[in-house]
Every structure is written in C-alpha cells, then in structure tokens.
Symmetry: C2
Subunit: 333 residues, 2 copies
C-alpha cells in the first residue's frame, strides 16, 4: 500500500507522515500528491485571519468543535486545521500551539490539527499550505480551516487559497490597527468581532460597517429634479451580491458560534449558486501553478550553475564590476 | 545626457523619474540601474519596522530631520526615505503618506521621500526597493531609511536589505502584539520604544529585555560542585558582540532622537569594524540576485507558452485530469 493509499484508507499515522513529506517538498510527497489529486475538490476551504490579540486561535478551535458537533440541519463534519504562522520565522512556536490546542480537541478522530512555522520563502509556505490542503481534502475532511496571523501581503496570498475568508477583529485594539485592515477587509467574506463582551464593541462594529459601506455600497445616490435622493439597493433580492455579514462572538464561552457557522454555510451555498465556487477554485489553482513553475525553474537553474560560478558572480557583484541585471544575464547565458 | 547621468549630476526631477522607471521595472529603468551600479555601496541602509500604532512614521521623519541637522561630531547627512507599505494591497495610502510627510521636510534639497504601495508580488516589492536603494545610493544620499509596516515574513525579507534594522515598539499595544514580535526581535539591531511618555513603558521595556536576554544571553549558567551558578558575560569587552540597545523616544516631541542617532552611528561603526558590513552587503546582493533570476526565468517561460496552452492546462487541472506537478511537467516540456 502506498502512503497515498493509506491516507485514502483513513490511517492517521500515514496522514501525519504525508503532511511532513509535503511540508518538506520531498519526492515521495510529490508522488503522493499526484496520486491523491483526483480525489480532491470537495472540501470547503475556510481562511481565518486576524491580528494577534483578536483571540483568533480560540475562535478556530470553537469553529472546529461546532462543525464536529453538527445540528438538526447540518451533519457533523470532519475538520482539519492548518495553522500558518509566517510571523515566527525563527521560533518554534508552532509546536507549542499544537499542544495548547490539543486540550479541546484531543481524541476526536474527526479532527486533525497541523501547525506550520515559516520555512524559507513565503512562496514555499503558500505551496506547502496548498499541498496540505489537497492531502486533507483527499483524505475526506469536509472542512479545512486555514489560520493565518496578522495583516499583510502574506495573509492576502494565503487567503487566496480559501473559498471563504473570515477576518477576525476585537474591540479595543486601537484605531491604527483598524486602519491597517482596510486592505484585509476587502478580502473578507465574513467579519467576526470576537471578544464582543468587551467595552468598545459598538465602536468596532460601527468602524467595520463604515468600511464595508465604502467597499460594498447598499445605498445609491442619484439626482432627481435638481435634488439628491438616495435609494437602498435590495441586497436580499440580488443573489449575485454578497455583503459580508458582521458576526459577534465570544469564542472562550462559545457565544455566537452557531450563528457564525450558519453564516459560513450560507456563504458556501452562495458560492455554489453563483458559480463563484468554481471561479475561486480556478484562481487558486492558477496561483498554485505559478508558484510551482517558479520553483521548478529555479531548481533547474541550480543544476546548470556550479557553486564556484555563483560565488564568482557574487564577488563581481559585490566589487561593483557587474550590476545585478548584468550578473543575471551572464549566469543565464 | 542619460537619465542616470542626470541623477548623478543631482537633478531631482531626473531622480523622481528614474524611481518611477525602477518601480515599474522598465527597460529604461534597468539600463539606468546598470549605469548607476558602479557608483553604489556607500550609503548606510537603515530598515525601520514596527506595527501600526507605534508612531513609526513620525519616528522616521524625526530620524531624517536629525540626520539632516548634524551635530558637533557628525556632519549633516543627505537622507532618502523609502516607505514600503505591503499591507495596503488595495488602497492608495502611499500618496496620502507622502503629503503628510512633506509638512516637516518640504523644501529641503537634502531629503527625498518616496512611498511605494504593494504592486503585484512581494518579490516585486523587494526588487523595486532594492533598485530604488541603488538609485539613492548612487545619487549621493548618505543615509537611506527603509520603512516597513508590521510584522511578518515580508518585513523580514525587506529588513534583509538594510545594514541596520530598527524595530519600533510602543507601550500599551497589548501582550499579544509583543509576543508576535519574538521573530522580528531577532532581526533587530536597535530597539526603540516610541511614545515612551505613555503609561506602561516600564512593562514594555521589561518585556523587551526578557526577550533580548533569551536571544542574546549576557549571563551564563553552569554547574559547580552540584550547584547552579551564573556568571556575567562581559559584553563591553567583546567587540564582535552587538547587544541591541533599547532606546526610548517620543518622536512627536523629538525626545530621545540624539541618543537614537548616536546608537545608529555606533552600529555603523560596529559593522565596519567587525566586517559585518561586508557580510550583510553580500547577503543582500545574493538575495537580490536570487529574486532577479526568478523573475527572469518566469519572463522567459511566458514567452514559450501561449495563452491558449496555459488555459488548456488550467482546465485539465481544474477537472482533476492532471495534478499541479503533472501540469508543470507538461508545460515545461
């Protein structure tokens, strides 16, 4: 039995081993990904991003727990969590994270949690995350939660992996922190105000609403007989339009979680109904392809140039004998 | 006169034009970079990074002003500022930033400020920053301040451009925010607690000291006759060792700035004395070369494959006929 076959058969140890192979981008990992790929395409990929201090990790745990439980209208789901932490390039924080999480979800065979610290390039991180997502998807996990830290281009890149992106805020983190999120807000499908029992929750919600209104206007203003009039856009009757809902939660007490899960399900249905599911999937695969092509070209290049040649080129560059562009031209000749 | 010659002659308009060419990675920009490259290698590159809310931009302005002023022991320096904002991939924040900054530094020919919003890939951003740095360096700017936002891999990558990296903190931003900085701390050459007139400054300094001690132990613990003993490492007498100093500032009032500039000068002298200046320069050029090779290989690849071929490949990928790795192998055949 190949590693991929063992994963398809539901063996957890094989799954853990394969995830390591994929993270290390080994030949065995690549072969297994090829074998598993036809079995992918069913899971709902949910990106969860938010600054430190928003209680994002607790929220991820609670979302996982609630998907596991199921309700009258929703069967229990198998849930995988991929925690990506590109902000700790030097620390082994990922391991500790795993241990803390295990408390809530330990022993449940329908949950699998995997943390990843940044190794090497951000492209490498996105590629490893994409590979792991495929492994979980093929292994029959219904929901894959991809947790990323903070704001920035890295989060935008990794959010592109997801069908649904959830942006977590919390009251009292300061106006500046809200401001920086303006960019991140535009990738949000659902906004969560966690720690919503804290003072300042009204301000946070107002700020988010203002930003949402700018991004997704629900009032149209027009001129009629020389006067400005406004008219509401009837969002509920425009199925193609998704206005990100704002959900309040207190993850540590499980408050607001059923409503959040409903919103997640609603977004999934919306994506399926409008064809956005397919569009996002295609965009994601295109981005993954681009990263892979880049890595492959670089690997090939490294086989054509010796270490001595590279050192010599670097030396000329350092001594200002050749410019960076001239050095590249010489190396690629 | 070429654009590069005009820049070498000190023409500000030519400088502004060339920076745009470099940002757009145009052929003219590349040609000018080749021409200017032999004139580079003198400027002190200082990276300044910190989360929103730390008052980092005000601090950058003040550092620029103080370098301009000069003192009894230091001649006035020409200062360039490159403000990199990868966290706003969607907004035009860069333009507003420029205007706000102009208030303090307007009319001074010895200062040049340039903001850059994220365009496309992070690699592209790092590449553009490297190119701009070379332009300013060749144009005779003595100090180049590279300002980046927040924590994360992107900041680490851009910090690699600098000789000296300054990490800005502020009191009262929350423990979680401190925690996420653990990784960023390890790239810090100088730590600044800005807004140090705020309550909580002692806590922030204590937290930073604790983290510094973990990263750079000044006490060694050993076992002697069954008992644990500790001994201090004499930092002052080990010239090769640089322990990041913690500097308190209130940028809005100019407080602590002379001391911060002294620390910056001291770090520069340290780099020169230990050979670290050369080592960092080589590492930086190596990273730049890698990025350029990657971009060049991708550009070449795009000329070998038609849009129709790419679409067909993507379609097979989407329909799970070929895995990502198999698709890459086919496209690169």
């Amino acid at each position: 039995m190949t590693l991929a076959q063992a994963v398809l058969a539901g063996e957890r140890l094989a799954l853990a081993r394969l995830l390591t192979q994929v993270e290390n981008d080994s030949d065995a990992g690549r072969a297994a990904l090829n074998e598993l790929y036809p079995h992918t395409g069913r899971a709902h990929l949910i990106g969860i991003t938010g600054a430190p201090g928003t209680g994002k990790s607790s929220l991820v745990n609670q979302v996982a727990l609630h998907f596991r439980k199921g309700t009258a209208s929703r069967a229990p789901q198998r849930v995988a969590v991929i925690a990506v932490d590109p902000s700790s390039p030097f620390t082994g924080g990922a391991v500790l994270g795993d241990r803390v999480r295990m408390k809530d979800l330990a022993g449940d065979q329908g949950v699998f949690i995997r943390s990843m610290a940044s190794r090497g390039s951000l492209g490498g991180l996105a590629q490893a995350t994409a590979g792991m997502t495929q492994v979980f998807d093929a292994a029959g996990f219904d929901v894959i939660l991809i947790e990323t830290v903070g704001a920035g281009q890295s989060e935008v890149d990794i959010a592109r992996l997801a069908h649904t992106t959830l942006v977590v805020e919390a009251p009292g983190l300061g106006d500046d922190i809200q401001a920086i999120k303006a960019g991140i807000l535009e990738i949000a499908d659902i906004l969560v105000i966690n720690k919503s029992d804290r003072p300042g929750v009204e301000n946070t919600e107002r700020a988010l609403k203002t930003m949402l209104d700018l991004a997704h206007p629900t009032q149209k203003i027009f001129k009629h007989h020389g006067q400005y009039m406004s008219v509401s856009v009837d969002v509920d009757h425009d199925a193609a339009l998704w206005i990100p809902p704002i959900q309040r939660t207190v993850a540590t007490e499980g408050k607001g979680l059923p409503e959040l899960l409903d919103a997640l399900e609603k977004h999934r249905a919306h994506l399926k109904a409008t064809g956005d599911w397919e569009r996002r999937e295609r965009a994601r695969l295109e981005a993954e392809l681009e990263t892979l092509i880049q890595e492959t070209l670089m690997a090939r290049f490294r086989t054509t140039v010796s270490a001595a040649q590279l050192d010599e080129a670097l030396d000329k560059l350092y001594r200002r004998k050749l410019s960076p562009h001239e050095t590249v031209a010489q190396l690629l000749k």
